[in-house]
């Protein structure tokens, strides 16, 4: 067991985990942050994405210990006192979800994209979503949410 210090959604947590325990498992099972999902455990589907120092990263394989001294934000940490984030609002406005299992990962990926590039072009959008799968077929709605965000910027 390792002693870890993780900064998540602005709060500092001291906890213990095995050296290979993925960040996602710590978030879900030790901290009750179940918004990020286990979809594959293989970094193939994107359901587990979290923001790490503002960038979207997959959390289902990389060990929690690698994320010390970094600023982690999960889907639960996006909405602030002013309500939903702009990305969350755009997803609601465009009904960009059906079952919702992939949605937290999608929202994190889009949030990371717009933090890095306020006016991303189509290739940059494709790149940001390349690791994200959706089976309900909400892709077109998610792209519509991204278009809405591009118009708002």
């Amino acid at each position: 067991m390792l002693s870890l210090t993780l900064k998540i959604n602005g709060a500092t947590h001291h906890l213990a985990a095995e050296s290979d325990t993925p960040l996602l498992q710590v978030l879900r099972n030790q901290l009750g942050l179940t918004g990020g999902k286990l979809g594959c455990g293989l970094e193939q589907c994107g359901a587990c994405a979290v923001l790490v120092d503002g960038e979207s990263r997959l959390s289902c394989v990389a060990a929690a210990s690698e994320f010390q001294n970094k600023d982690i934000v999960t889907i639960e940490g996006l909405a602030g006192e002013g309500g939903l984030s702009s990305v969350q609002r755009a997803f609601v406005a465009e009904t960009a979800a059906q079952c919702g299992y992939c949605t937290p990962g999608m929202i994190i990926a889009v949030t990371g994209l717009f933090r890095k590039i306020p006016q991303p072009n189509d290739a940059q959008v494709q790149d940001a979503l390349a690791d994200h799968l959706c089976r309900c077929g909400s892709h077109a709605r998610i792209l519509a949410a991204i278009d809405r965000l591009r118009r708002e910027v």
Partner: protein
């Protein structure tokens, strides 16, 4: 209107609607939300009929304790069953409440006005409310199946766009899936499966078992069923790998890797003629004679491989076994049927099983949900008192969910000199599409639960009988909606095929419509006819014609696509009884034979639209999913097991091939609701194939339309 089974089984108003003293309206239904947002549409219907604000409605998640039992959530039936049931329940409740109010306020019911549940007597301005009159009290009346419902012109909620009820929770991560549940003392669990379905457990390395036990894990074994539990989920995932390494398996046979088309057309089979959408006994008729002087005469064979549901979240369930019985939280689409089969498998009185529906990842049919519930139950039964949250891995889901069967469709027909389609024959070869755990003769239900096949005492597997219902499994949409004289329609239920198969969105309709709508285009091309005209000339139903005309107009002339693009369209009315959908596709095929979807127009007629946002989502989402089946998907396997075990070995559509989609709803106010969850899929496959043909001159008849398949089709054309 046809009999509504949901109402026949659950005639009492109290089973569906209750009113609280604090001003809420509780609505129970037996159909489950699986991402299709059925509860959002049903909530609107209840609020509309009761004249209350939508925010007062509380939709209950179905469980087997309070009912109503509405059987399976499948077949695009939910709006017609739950939707109409709740609509009539709302109308009955309102009439009952107005009668109570009339007595309380001493006026005639016709002298009352309702606004958000507050009832006012026009003459006296005296006021009461639903909550005063009926709060926390049973109605004690049956639903009036003739209760007048609101005409469309008077509605204020239905037919208007608004976000689904659960969307705010989904975007903030608060939406709780069964995977996210937690309970005091809960343990995590993973099953350990054999390498393939015919393998059985020969031995387990006892040293490894001892090590696992010393490290705090519990291994549950019954025959060849294996699972491991522990308190830390990641440690359990690793322990399951250790346990898998410690197991030795034997098998009497392997997976049959003979070419699947040869198996489908060569194996023992049960063949039936299909008349008016229903299989009938009697001899299989000979091929229709082809009259002389035909403008075109063709025969073609279409094929599609095994495909999977491919839920993004692997199947999971939470189970607890105690002195009061077995309680399970599951994302099954049919909690009542699962309960009955579990009671039979475990020889338990059915009242001792309590099942609660909880959200899973979208399933689109019978995926691993029921099997995972049995896995969890088997582990919980071995560890009484301990809640068990069991999850499948990605590899478990890919390798063990019941697939949608591979199919072969053989079509032939011609066009007469005056442009009439004639001598139509369509034979479909497939394994069953319906292997849900529906109890029947002893052992039938349990035998369909995957984990039961590995137990010491295995229920005998009974080959499924042919589905004889109207547009059932294999013969769903085998019957063309087109006016064709005496079509020869044959379903072949093929035995002895390599994989367990069951219901995936549309069952046989996707492949049947892919074949028949491709063949219509082939006939048109052979006869030098316009494919839109040919379709319209053979359709009497104006609603069907309107869908085709809507997409044909919007996509533009089929032969005038921009340079390098091709256009194609296709049509289907799901089961010839549900929503009508036409799809037009514009695409490009590049030098490497890759297909790029550019632009799509979908026109759908789902009768009266209650929740346009929901219907559009079903049409668009169904298009994208079916485009994925069409372009990318095939389950792969070898003699020693399934080789599609992750998203690299079973690729699905990504953001790099999503076209611009325009969706047109042809609303029919005051018409009956027509289920819309599946109707777009079949036309999607054929519209893509038809566009590929118009773009390249190559007629693709084998799915998926990968570059390799297109190159092979170019050679064989």
């Amino acid at each position: 209107m046809a009999e509504n089974l949901s109402l026949t089984k659950n005639p009492d108003l109290d089973a569906w609607i209750s009113i609280t003293t604090d001003g809420r309206v509780l609505v129970r239904m037996g159909k489950v939300d699986i991402g299709q947002k059925i509860s959002s549409a049903v909530a609107r219907l209840a609020a509309e009929e009761l004249d209350i604000d939508l925010s007062r409605i509380v939709m209950f998640r179905p469980d087997t304790i309070d009912g109503p039992d509405e059987g399976m959530t499948s077949g695009s039936n939910s709006m017609e069953e739950s939707g109409n049931a709740v609509r009539l329940a709302g109308a009955t409740a309102k009439a009952h409440l107005l009668a109570l109010a009339a007595v309380a306020l001493d006026v005639e019911p016709s002298g009352l006005e309702v606004s958000d549940g507050v009832v006012t007597a026009r003459s006296t301005n005296q006021v009461t409310s639903y909550w005063e009159l009926q709060g926390d009290k049973p109605f004690g009346v049956p639903i009036d199946i003739n209760a007048p419902v609101k005409p469309a012109a008077l509605t204020t909620l239905i037919g208007r766009a608004s976000p689904p009820l659960d969307l705010a929770d989904i975007v903030t991560g608060r939406h709780v899936f069964v995977h996210d549940m937690n309970m005091a003392g809960m343990l995590h669990a993973r099953p350990v499966r054999p390498p393939h379905v015919h393998a059985r457990l020969a031995s387990l390395d006892t040293k490894v078992l001892e090590q696992l036990s010393n490290r705090g894990f519990t291994v549950v074994r019954d025959g060849s069923f294996l699972a491991v539990t522990g308190s830390d989920e990641h440690a359990v995932i690793k322990a399951a790998l250790t346990l898998a390494d410690a197991a030795s398996w034997t098998s009497t046979r392997e997976l049959d890797t003979t070419n699947i088309t040869e198996q489908l057309t060569g194996n023992e089979r049960l063949s039936m003629r299909v008349v008016d959408g229903v299989p009938v006994d009697g001899p299989i008729p000979l091929m229709p004679a082809r009259p002389a002087g035909l403008k075109a005469s063709l025969a073609a064979r279409y094929e599609r491989p095994y495909i999977m549901h491919g839920s993004i979240g692997p199947s999971a369930a939470l189970a607890r076994f105690g002195s009061d019985g077995l309680e399970i939280w599951t994302h099954s689409q049919g909690i009542y049927l699962l309960r009955a089969s579990l009671a039979e498998l475990f020889s338990m009185p059915i009242e001792q099983l309590r099942l609660h529906h909880r959200p899973g990842s979208g399933c689109y049919g019978h995926n691993g949900a029921d099997d995972a519930a049995v896995d969890a139950a088997l582990v919980a039964r071995a560890m009484p008192g301990t809640p068990i949250l069991l999850k499948w891995t990605r590899a478990d889901e890919h390798a063990w969910e019941p697939y949608s069967p591979a199919m072969v469709m053989e079509l032939s027909g011609g066009i007469t000199a005056d442009g009439t389609i004639t001598a139509w024959s369509h034979e479909t070869f497939s394994d069953t599409h319906v292997l849900r755990p529906r109890p029947g003769v002893a052992g039938l239900g349990p035998s369909r639960l995957l984990p039961a096949q590995f137990l010491e005492n295995t229920p005998t597997i009974v080959p499924p009988p042919p589905n004889l219902t109207h547009h059932g499994g294999i013969h769903r949409n085998l019957e063309p909606l087109y006016r064709i004289k005496e079509p020869r329609l044959i379903k072949h239920l093929v035995r002895g095929l390599p994989h367990r198969t069951s219901a995936l969105r549309t069952l046989g309709a996707f492949a049947n419509i892919f074949a028949l709508e491709s063949f219509i285009d082939e006939l048109a091309a052979a006869a030098g006819e316009d494919p839109v005209d040919l379709r319209l000339r053979h359709l009497d139903d104006p609603r069907a014609r309107a869908c085709i005309e809507a997409v044909a107009t919007r996509i533009g002339p089929l032969d005038q696509a921009p340079e390098g693009h091709g256009r194609g369209l296709a049509f289907g009315q799901y089961k010839n009884a549900k929503a009508y959908v036409a799809v037009a596709v514009e695409l490009a095929v590049d030098d490497t034979a890759k297909i790029h979807l550019k632009r799509v127009v979908i026109a759908g007629d789902a009768g009266q639209v209650v929740d346009p946002t929901g219907v559009i989502a079903q049409l668009e989402g169904g298009f994208i999913q079916a485009a994925s089946w069409t372009l990318y998907e095939a389950v792969t396997y070898q003699a020693d097991g399934i080789t599609s075990r992750d998203w690299q070995s079973y690729p699905i559509i990504g953001f790099d091939n999503i076209p611009d989609i325009e969706t047109v709803l042809l609303d029919q106010p005051d018409a009956a609701f027509l289920g819309a969850g599946e109707a777009v899929c079949g036309p999607t496959g054929a519209a893509i194939a038809n566009a590929v043909h118009r773009s390249t001159g190559v007629r693709p008849r084998q799915l998926p339309l990968t570059p390799d398949a297109l190159r092979a089709a170019a050679l064989s054309n």
